[in-house]
Amino acid sequence: MAKTIPEINEKIKAGKAVVVTAEEILEIVREKGAKAAAAQVDVVTTGTFAPMCSSGAYFNVGHATPRIKMGGGRVTLNQVPAYAGFAAVDIFLGATALPDDDPRNKVFPGAFVYGGGHVIEDLVAGKDVRLTATAYGTDCYPRKALDTLIRLADMNEAVLFNMRNAYQNYNVAVNLSDRILYTYMGILQPRLRNANYCTAGQLSPLLNDPLYRTIGVGTRIFLGGGIGYVVSQGTQHNPGVRRTDRGLPRMGAATLAVTGDLKQMSSKWLRGASFTGYGVTLTVGLGIPIPVLDEEMLHYVSVSDHDIVGPVVDYSEAYPNGKAEILAEVTVAQLKSGEITVNGKKVTTAGLSSYAKAREIARILKDWILAGRFFLTEPLAPLPGPDSGYTFRPLTERHVPPLWNRG
């Protein structure tokens, strides 16, 4: 029998909702069958905890006396530059930003010890952060420089705003070349010695709602240990890729743009990360509840690691040159076993997305719903789906004429 989201919310309010994680549902389906499970279970919770580079936060730091117009000037937080092209005291800090004096890859491979992701972690942990600003000065904003300590609680607004999170499926990275590679997929040893993957597999939010029936604009989610919302599809959203019989994309597909109040989040679920030779980023904890509206949704949430396939991609040649070459397709179950076979060779696997933490997120979200602290939402608008024609295109470079844009 079909259920509606308002009906499920009534059950949550009455303390009668049946909520299980995307892992627990597998056992229930095995024991009771799909029909009984669909009738019994109201909500399945998912989770993921992985590096997500297109993350950041905006802040309103408050007006100093006398006032300063940071907009059009330069702003740093713990020496990491923030974007200030807004009104006087609104700034945006990106996860991958680095201090101007970070040596980067000058001595290869760089260590990338501290950057935007770490500033966000420090702020959420309640630590003091040094805010500096230089400005050009105006009649209404006379001040030209500012140097102060500030903490999250001092700010007016502090909002996590991530333009691309929760990638639905992802590449498995290998290295066919003769030299070691330092990538955002970790360190890849030469001649196919290791394979790195990044997915929460059967716990992954968008793999439990592969056609975006319930996740859409406005969906309430677990974000960074607090409550957040889906803004829309994320950047590089690419729903039209090839899919399995279950509707699961065989490669990276949908993405989500998400937002939430940073002040209620936790540094346990927003972690700065340093990738040797690559840069810094933010590891984000994100979980989405999926309502089991009917047997079709039950079918989707009963996805297991054996059903999910990802493409093995060479990061020495195919990836940097944007070639769509796939060496093999492997299941998440194979990846989690510790070894896959590529080109007839056994290759050791390692993850970048924490399955253990994804599990914890799914359990926390389950507890919130069971405690009546978290209610489900109906999407205000759908995400562009597989048949929408929405695609992810490469950049076409064009010739720049001489004296372009010089009046």
Binding site: P109, N194, F275
Partner: protein, 136 residues
């Protein structure tokens, strides 16, 4: 059970054949896991010493007398579990399986310090600085 030890050599000992004497005079079974020796600077060697061979205590006394600093390797390599997110990124690169997946269902990591050879690979690989080598 072999013991893994970090030996620190003051600059004036660099040109002396200390390892030779451990083997020849004291009969120790020495397995060098790592060595960084530059004339004129402090040197460091990570060795595995078999406890069953030779005059162990005399050898240790000799090293101490010579001014060689001795630290058990286990004290020098730290797994900061509170920083670890159990992503498993370190497991493939770790050559001795000191860092390994302890539970394939939960996908949690464990660190077995007995197996560590202090190669430092995990330090480069871990994005969260969960591994630390104190002598580096």
């Amino acid at each position: 059970m072999p013991k893994k030890i970090v030996m620190n050599f003051p600059p004036h000992l660099i040109e002396q054949p200390i390892t030779y004497r451990l083997i020849k005079d004291y009969g120790l079974k020495v397995n060098i896991l790592q060595a960084r020796i530059t004339p004129g600077e402090r040197g460091r060697m990570v060795v595995e010493l078999a406890e069953d061979g030779g005059r162990w205590q005399d050898a240790m006394d000799f090293l101490t007398e010579m001014g060689v600093g001795l630290e058990p390797l286990a004290q020098e390599i730290l797994w900061h579990e509170e920083r670890c997110i159990h992503c498993t990124a370190c497991v493939g690169p770790c050559p001795s399986q000191a860092l390994h997946v302890a539970d394939r269902e939960a996908m949690t990591i464990a660190y077995d310090q007995e197996r560590c050879i202090a190669c430092g690979m995990c330090v480069k690989v871990c994005p969260y600085r969960a591994m630390e080598i104190l002598f580096d």
